[in-house]
Each structure stands twice: as C-alpha cells, then as structure tokens.
C-alpha cells in the first residue's frame, strides 16, 4: 500500500512535487515529512485526505497527504 504525497508552493523545489510512498504500517505525518526531506518548520499547513491536520497525525496507507507552505487567506 502507498500514500500519495503532494507538496505545494515554495516547498516544491525541496522534494519531488508529487509522489507515492510505500508504507508497511500507519506512520506519523512527521515521519513522512522527514522521509521526503521537508523540515517541519517549513510547513505551514497540512491536509490528510482534505482534512486539516498536523505533524502528529497518523497517515494510513491509501491516504492523500499534502504539505503547504505558510500562507494566509484574503
């Protein structure tokens, strides 16, 4: 099973923009970030299957995980 990972904005040059990672077990978002080379402090917003999350959330195989930089609405 794999997890779909997409990164946005100025995070894109830091890792592959869109990738599928193989997972043997559920892992924390933080572990995924480490695995793809993102520093937690560079990440402003996280969604797991479209739901806003954080680094301590668990990612199940089959999930879609997105990392966004810091941003504000307006």
């Amino acid at each position: 099973m794999s997890v779909e990972v997409e990164v946005f904005g100025q995070l894109s040059p830091l890792t592959e923009r869109h990738q599928f990672l193989r997972l043997k077990r559920p892992v924390l978002v933080r572990e995924v970030a480490n695995r793809i080379g993102l520093k937690p402090e560079e990440v402003g917003l996280i969604t797991v299957d479209g739901v806003q999350g954080d680094m301590e959330d668990t990612v199940e195989p089959g999930c879609r995980l997105c990392f966004f930089p810091y941003m504000s609405g307006g």
Binding site: Q52, C66, M71, G74
Partner: protein, 570 residues
C-alpha cells in the same frame, strides 16, 4: 487634520476642522462612527440622506509599509447595512499626506449629471464630467491622468456605478500606470453614481509629510514592524504571498473542499491545477509579465501581478484568489487566460468580481449560459456595460439574479455574495459571514489558515475564533493596514500602539487599542440594528444547512444559538 465635505446638491466643496469626536478615528472606525452619528440608519441607501466617505486609516501617509489602504464607507444598497470596503493604490497614502481625514460626499445631484471632484493641495472643486459618462474605469483613469497629470490619483466608477448596479465597486489607481485597485464590495459604486460623482482626482502631494508627536518612537517601531514582515515566512521575499500572490491558496482551499465550484455545489474543482498560484506564476513569468509588484507605495509584501497573454500583451493586473474562485471554479472555467479576460471586463465596468461571479454562477445554473463556456459568459457579462435588462440582472448581484432567474441556491448573506470559501467546509468563515455587520465578507474575519486548534469542519471554537478575527479585522481596516500585514501586530499589539503614539502622541495602551477595535464593531452593529436588520437577516442560506457539500459531505451546522451570541463578550 481636516474634513472635506462635498455637497452634490449645491455643488460645493468646503473644508472643516475635524470634530473632537472623530479625532482618534480613521478608516473603518471613522466610517462607523460618522454614519451612526450623521445619517438616519433606515434611510434609502440610494437617496440623498446617505453619505459616501473616503478615508485613509490612522497610519495613512506616515510611510508605514503596507498601511496605505483607502477605506470607502456608506450605507450599502446591497446589504441595507453599514459598509466599509477598502483598496490599495495611492489614494490612502495621498490623503494622509495631505492631512485629509476624510472626504464626505453628501446629498445628490439634481438632474442626473456627473461631476468630477478635483483636489489640489488645499483647494477642492467640482467640475462637470459629462464627457466621462459611459466610460469604463480604465478609460476614465487614462483620460483624467492625461488631462490633470500622470502622477495624480484617480478614484472612479465605471458603467456599473453609473447604472446604480448593486454589484458596483469603486476603483483607484496606483503608482505609475497601475490600475484597478477596487473597493469592490457592498455596491458602493452605485452610491457614488447616484450622487453624481464620476471620479475624484487628487494631485500628488509634493514635499508633504505628516507631523509626528514622537518621531523617534515612530521610526523605531515602523522599522521593527517592517522587518518582522520581511522575516515572516508568509510575507517576505521568499514567502507565498510575494511569490504566488493571493492565488497561493487556490490549491489549499480546493484540497480542503472549500473552493466554490459550479455555483457553490461542490468544494472541489477538477481543473483546479490550472488555476493554482504556482501555475499563474509560471504562466506570467514565461510570458514576461510581472510578479511581485506593489499595490501600495513601499509595501514589502508585493503580492500583485500583471497577467499577459501569449503575445506578452497585458490582460489584467492583478489577478487574485477571490476572482479566480468566483469567476473561475465557480463558473467551471479552468483556464487562467479566460479568468483574466472576465476579470478585466469586471474591472472596467467597475464591478465586484465576487458579486458578479456569484451572479454569473446563478445564471449558469438557470441555463442562461453554460458552465465552463467562457465566450457565452463573456457575452452575457458584456451586457452589463450596455445596460441591457439582462446586464442589469447580472450587475445587480447574486440575490437579484436568483430572484429574476428563479434560482433558490443563492450563496449570499445579508444580500451580499459569499467570497471564495464555502462555509460548509470552512465553518469559521461561515460564522463570520453570518454575524459580521458587513455581510458575507472574508475580510471581516477570515478563518482560513487558522491552525488546527479549530477544526474547519467542526463547530467547536468557531464562535470564539470568528470574534477574535473580526476584532483584528476592525483594527486593520481602521488603521489602513492590508489584511496580509496582520501577523506582526497580532503577535505584538504594542507595535501598533507605539506607531499610533509615535504619530499622534495619544499615550494609548494595548487596552485602549482593544477598546478602539471593539468600538468599531459595536458602532456597526448598532447602525445595523437601527437600520432594522435582525438576526434572521444574517442567516446562512437554508440550502447550505441541508445540502451536503462534496467532498466532505458537510453542511453548515453551527446552531443559530451560537451565532446569536458571537458578540456577547464584545
């Protein structure tokens, strides 16, 4: 400082000293107090008793980065309540430098003529402007700058304002050839048109600076504030706002299932990748357009862009998130060039792209034109400028379009169309839409990006979050700060206190600032109460409480009892 009162019935402009009750007010705060004190709240918004106010924020003209916004206020013909809407450009900074606390436009012309208000230093006069009738905002600005100087500021309305359309906004120019900064919301362009004022021209002040009560305190604080903005990961030269503009959030709002799509019937747009800020940046840079330009002098964020076509010819500047959401995904248009063309046409007619995008979405749902068919939609939109019956239906906004076309699914609160966040999956914004005296307005308290402590899909904490954001927004709108410039003053309100004390010497504390911010909302709520607006008028449309929104299949379910007590602790 001084006030400029402009009587459109007698065609007179006169200066007067600022009354003491207005001295410590600016921007939205001044508008709230002045409208509450000076007009009957139940008056006809398009009648002679309403007033139209142009005012810089309290920081206007002082040279604080990102603090030159112009506030425009009036009783709104769209919402029936109080309205403040603001824009970048050079007007706010210019009025501040000239020591003009506000321009107050009163009464209305008697015979349907149009006039131009020309302000030069200490003089102000009304001049006939019938030759500008029927011109869009671009041509109006061009013609007036040719006639009166390329570096003057022009505030104008387009055809939509002349036709008294409820979706009409007010446009201001910026530095050099910059156009199309819009105080777009609430139909205030119709108020300006109704008064017979086509444009205001303000000559560039030469050698004017404002006096400082404590110049050293001001300089030190303003410098620290600017540095904190530059250091902020959202705002500096490597931040999302600068690199991608407000469109930076298209992907995130879509991912969270809140991007208005197909007349607010879904929160996900399949072609959203074509509308993302990343794609916008790539497209513009490839074509040698401009990214990272400023709407206000000295802004360190610089989130504007200049969209060009594939031959390098400018289409529109700037293209922003709200426009992309309302005339892009909401109409199922997945092409930025097409969005840019619609954006240009709205700007030229002087239309709010949010209100107009929502009205066009309703027209699509009614089968008048097809979703995704740009040429048909452009053709319908072009009728606004011609003043045809159908054009007037669209130009009068979402509620009118829904009534005329027989569509019940109208995404509006207090008569005003919702911006680019569906409240069913971003419930904090839903609470703001359903409680703000400004109607459905994201700038009144935008919960997007609030961290995970308040789940956007849940109910818990939304009421408290919205109130907190609405109080902050009142401060920003009253001081002339851009919404994006909020992080440093939220983290340390003393920065704002010290900048104000440095300019005015009021000796304010953080408690004084807090009271000031809350008074803005108190005055606005009181105005709306006296105007006859009840809690029932603020409700989120019934269909959004019953019709689940994909992909999260959520409805707006914050109870009325929560909404009715948002301001309990104000």
């Amino acid at each position: 400082m001084k006030l400029l009162r402009v009587n459109m019935s007698q065609l007179q402009a006169r200066w007067e000293p600022v009354p003491s009750s207005y001295e410590q007010l600016g921007g939205r705060a001044l508008i709230a107090k002045m409208l509450l004190d000076e007009i009957p709240p139940a008056c006809d918004a398009l009648g002679p008793h309403n007033k139209l106010i142009f005012t810089p924020g309290l920081l206007g003209g002082a040279g604080v980065t990102t603090a030159g916004r112009l506030s425009v206020g009036s009783k709104s013909p769209l919402t029936g309540g109080i309205k403040e809407t603001n824009a970048g450009g050079t007007a706010g900074d210019t009025l501040g430098k000239l020591g003009i606390k506000a321009i107050v436009v009163e009464e209305q012309v008697k015979q349907g003529a149009f006039y131009l208000l020309h302000i030069t230093g200490d003089s102000a006069e009304l001049l006939p402007a019938d030759d500008l009738r029927g011109l869009g905002t671009y041509a109006t600005s061009d013609r007036l700058q040719e006639r009166l100087g390329a570096d003057c500021t022009v505030i104008s309305i387009g055809q939509a304002g002349e036709f008294l359309m409820l979706g009409a906004g007010i446009c201001t120019t910026g530095e050099r050839d910059q156009r199309s900064n819009h105080a777009a919301r609430g139909g205030l362009g119709a108020v300006m048109g109704n008064k017979g004022l086509k444009a205001i021209v303000i000559d560039k002040p030469v050698g004017k600076t404002i006096p400082f009560a404590d110049a050293e305190l001001f300089r030190k604080t303003a410098r620290a504030y600017a540095q904190q903005m530059i250091n902020d990961p959202k705002l500096g030269t490597q931040g999302s706002q600068h690199l991608y503009g407000t469109a930076s959030i298209v992907a995130a709002v879509n991912e969270m299932g809140s991007l208005p799509t197909r007349n607010f019937s879904s929160g996900n747009f399949q072609q959203s990748t074509e509308l993302r800020g990343e794609h916008l940046r790539e497209l513009i840079l490839t074509r040698e357009g401009k990214i990272g330009t400023r709407c206000m002098p000295g802004c360190v964020i610089a989130c504007r862009n200049q969209c060009v076509d594939d031959t390098g010819m400018p289409i529109v500047g700037t293209m922003q998130f709200e426009t992309i959401a309302l005339v892009g995904s909401n109409l199922e248009i997945g092409n930025l060039d097409d969005v840019a063309r619609l954006n240009y046409m709205c700007n030229d007619f002087g239309l709010d792209t949010i209100e107009t995008g929502a009205a066009l979405g309703i027209a699509c749902e009614a089968g008048l034109v097809r979703f995704g068919n740009t040429e048909d939609i452009l053709s319908l939109l072009s009728q606004v400028g011609e003043g045809t019956v159908l054009g007037r239906v669209i130009g009068n906004g979402a509620v009118v379009a829904g009534r005329v076309l027989g569509i019940r699914r109208v995404p509006a609160v207090l008569g005003q169309a919702m911006p680019g966040y569906d409240p069913r999956s971003l419930k904090g914004n839903g609470v703001t839409y359903a409680t703000s005296p400004q109607g459905a307005d994201h700038t009144a308290g935008n919960a997007f990006g609030a961290r995970k402590e308040v789940n956007p899909l849940g109910i818990t904490g939304q009421k408290e979050l919205s109130l907190k954001l609405q109080i902050i927004a009142a401060m920003l709108d009253s001081t002339g700060l851009c919404l994006f410039a909020r992080p440093p003053v939220i983290a340390d309100p003393q920065l704002m206190v010290d900048m104000l004390n440095g300019i005015y010497g009021w000796g304010w504390t953080k408690d004084d600032l807090n009271r000031f911010n809350r008074d803005v909302l108190r005055n606005e709520l009181e105005f709306n109460r006296r105007a006859g607006i009840t809690p029932a008028d603020y409700r989120i449309p019934e269909y959004m409480r019953e019709e689940p929104l994909a992909p999260h299949n959520t409805v707006f379910d914050v109870p009325d009892s929560e909404l009715d007590t948002v301001f309990e602790t104000l």
